[in-house]
């Protein structure tokens, strides 16, 4: 290798460098708060029953599954739609979709979950579909923006040299749109993990159950620890996508 060009690290902006530091710091602080609540507040048998480790473990797994599955669903749906509407001939559909999904996001997630409950009944699947609908917009919008911000000259050069439309899409447009698309996915994942706390409403499980029990039985430590766990989980997922964002970003940009 040659010794040309400043090392990549120097070219990162402050925001980029803080990105991978701030999230863990917040997660640790939240962890300390949770630990302090557990150690120093009045823990009775009821609280202990609510916060039983095996229960928490199940709920944690459920929340992860809910967040993960809905995010995968969003990615599988939103990115192809985003690609389709940025191809020639569908500009009207694009605006219609962005506006409609904006409406979906304007609805409270609570309402959306209940709405899907009346259609799909109880269970995790209902929650996954509801969450996916709710977080579709950021991924779709970022896919559209990411693809549209690719320099037209680069696309023209690619076409002019004999890339087919498909090759232009997969070898030029998508790689160049990756940073923006992943930013959208990141937003969606955090929304999904956070909103998965509402899954208990329709029998979807998750850490929301702990919070709910705490509320119903008036056990503040349980509420707090439940909330802290949800927040830490969201931060961990955010961190993972931030790492992905960094390493999937094409070199040379």
């Amino acid at each position: 290798m040659t010794v040309i060009g400043p090392p990549i690290a120097q070219r990162q902006t402050l925001a980029e460098r803080l990105d991978l530091i701030v999230t863990p710091i917040f997660a640790v602080i939240l962890g300390i708060v949770g630990g302090a609540v557990w150690l120093y507040s009045d823990i009775d048998d009821t609280t202990r029953a609510i916060l039983a480790p095996e229960k928490l473990y199940t709920q944690l797994i459920e929340t992860i599954i809910l967040g993960f599955a809905s995010s995968v669903l969003v990615i599988l749906v939103a990115i192809p739609i985003g690609i389709a509407v940025t191809r020639r001939g569908l500009p009207r559909l694009k605006n219609f979709l962005v506006d409609t999904l904006g409406l979906a996001q304007a609805l409270p997630a609570y309402g959306l979950i209940v709405l899907f409950f009346s259609w799909l009944g109880t269970g995790m699947f209902t929650v996954i579909v509801a969450l996916a609908t709710f977080s579709l917009l950021p991924v779709l919008r970022n896919t559209i923006v990411g693809l549209e911000q690719v320099d037209q000259a680069v696309i023209e050069a690619g076409r002019g040299m004999g890339y087919t439309k498909r090759q232009v899409l997969f070898q030029i447009e998508l790689p160049l749109a990756v940073p923006v698309i992943i930013a959208g996915i990141r937003t969606a994942i955090v929304i999904n993990i956070g909103m998965a706390a509402l899954a208990f409403l329709v029998g979807g499980g998750g850490l929301g159950e702990t919070i709910n029990s705490g509320l119903k039985l008036d056990r503040n430590p349980a509420i707090l620890i439940g909330a802290v766990l949800v927040a830490i989980l969201a931060l961990i997922f955010d961190f993972i996508t931030a790492v992905a964002q960094r390493y999937l970003k094409p070199k040379g940009m």
Partner: protein, 378 residues
């Protein structure tokens, strides 16, 4: 020039929703090894015409031939891989290294790795960039001029017969542009590619083109011919206006100093005696001589008057010669030097600086009047 390499036959492009065609019934031939420059005011359809050739824009009607073969309906991507394409904005792929950028078409054509690597290095050297230090860089680290060099290298990668260039040097500063143009002309001497070159700059057209097509609205050809012919005999008022007022001056860039007859101004070789010098000067029609040093390099203009005026040694009389010309310089350069010179003439030297003769404004003028007239005669 037998069969044209590229032939556009009655090609029309009309965009949906518009009445007037962007390109209307255009028939044009491009011959092997020539640089055909399409030039015209903005919006005349010259870029559209270029993109019709590689079918980035599909013609509404008409046929396109390459090597005499109808390529109007073959797979457009396959067709484009046979033609280099260079655009003003360059359009290097920012996520790929310089080497990967240049390797684009060879990779599409399925060359093996070693062959691609060799070709990349060869091309980088061809466009005067050091392969070792540029191969693994990314486009954003390049200046505008360097980026376009890579753009040209990328277009040449699979050694296409045809090169399509859409204002390739349009976005580059004047000094770098001039250098790139010269390098490109030098390259073309060896490569002998068939090139269609679009520009809106008539000076660039005259400099780069073997033939120029001056286009007006809807890509209608107002005149297509060699630069010399167009300059000396514009087809109509449109062409005349497009050439601008300085057509004759522009023509000077086409001719070299070696094309004109050199004036035989007597030379005085150092060391020389005063009497001897006076004798030579008397016989010189211009009453002027050129003083040379012992290596035959011109030093000063000596005239009878300047010799008589002072009693100074001969090597200090007269006026110093500060600039000289070489046979490869254009007549435009020559005119500049003559206007600067105190005696209305310029000395011409060979590559080693040895005196060859002088050229004067008169000889330039007679070439313009006589030479162009003769070529322009119908």
């Amino acid at each position: 020039m037998s069969t044209p390499l590229i032939r556009l036959e009655n090609v029309t492009k009309t965009y949906p929703g518009t009445e007037a065609p962007a390109v209307g019934n255009l028939t044009m031939d491009v011959y092997e090894g020539e640089v055909l420059v399409l030039v015209g005011p903005s919006g005349c359809g010259k870029s559209t015409t270029l993109r019709l050739i590689n079918r980035l824009i599909e013609p509404s009607s008409g046929r396109i031939y390459l090597h005499g073969e109808d390529v109007t309906d073959i797979d457009a991507s396959e067709l484009r891989r046979k033609m280099g394409y260079v655009i003003q904005q360059v359009g290097l792929f920012p996520h790929r290294t310089i080497a990967e950028n240049i390797a684009t078409v060879p990779k599409l054509l399925g060359w093996d790795k070693a062959r691609i690597a060799d070709r990349v290095d060869e091309l980088l050297e061809l466009v005067s960039m050091d392969p070792k230090s540029y191969r693994d860089r990314y486009p954003k680290e390049l200046s505008g001029g360097q980026a376009q060099r890579v753009g040209v290298a990328r277009a040449l990668a699979a050694d296409p017969d045809v090169l399509l260039m859409d204002e390739p040097f349009g976005a580059i500063d004047p000094i770098t542009r001039d250098r790139l143009q010269n390098e490109f002309l030098r390259l073309q001497q060896d490569l002998k590619k068939t090139i269609v070159f679009v520009t809106h700059d008539i000076d660039e057209a005259i400099k780069m083109g073997n033939r120029i097509a001056i286009l007006r609205e809807a890509s209608e050809i107002a005149q297509i011919d060699t630069p010399e012919f167009i300059l000396s005999d514009p087809a109509d008022e449109f062409v005349e206006n497009f050439l601008g007022s300085g057509a004759i001056l522009k023509g000077l860039t086409l001719k070299k100093v070696r094309d004109i007859d050199l004036h035989d101004i007597p030379a005085l070789e150092m060391p020389v005696m005063r009497d001897e010098a006076l004798k030579v000067l008397e016989q010189s029609p211009e009453k002027t001589a050129v003083l040379l040093d012992k290596d035959h390099k011109p030093l000063r203009w000596i005239s009878e008057a300047s010799l008589n005026r002072t009693s100074q040694p001969i090597e200090k009389s007269g006026k110093p010669i500060t600039v000289d010309l070489q046979p490869e310089d254009t007549l435009q350069d020559a005119l500049g030097v003559m206007l600067q010179s105190s005696v209305g003439m310029a000395v011409v030297v060979d590559r080693k600086g040895k005196y060859l003769g002088c050229c004067s404004i008169e000889s330039l003028a007679s070439l313009i009047i006589g030479g162009y007239g003769a070529q322009g005669a119908v």
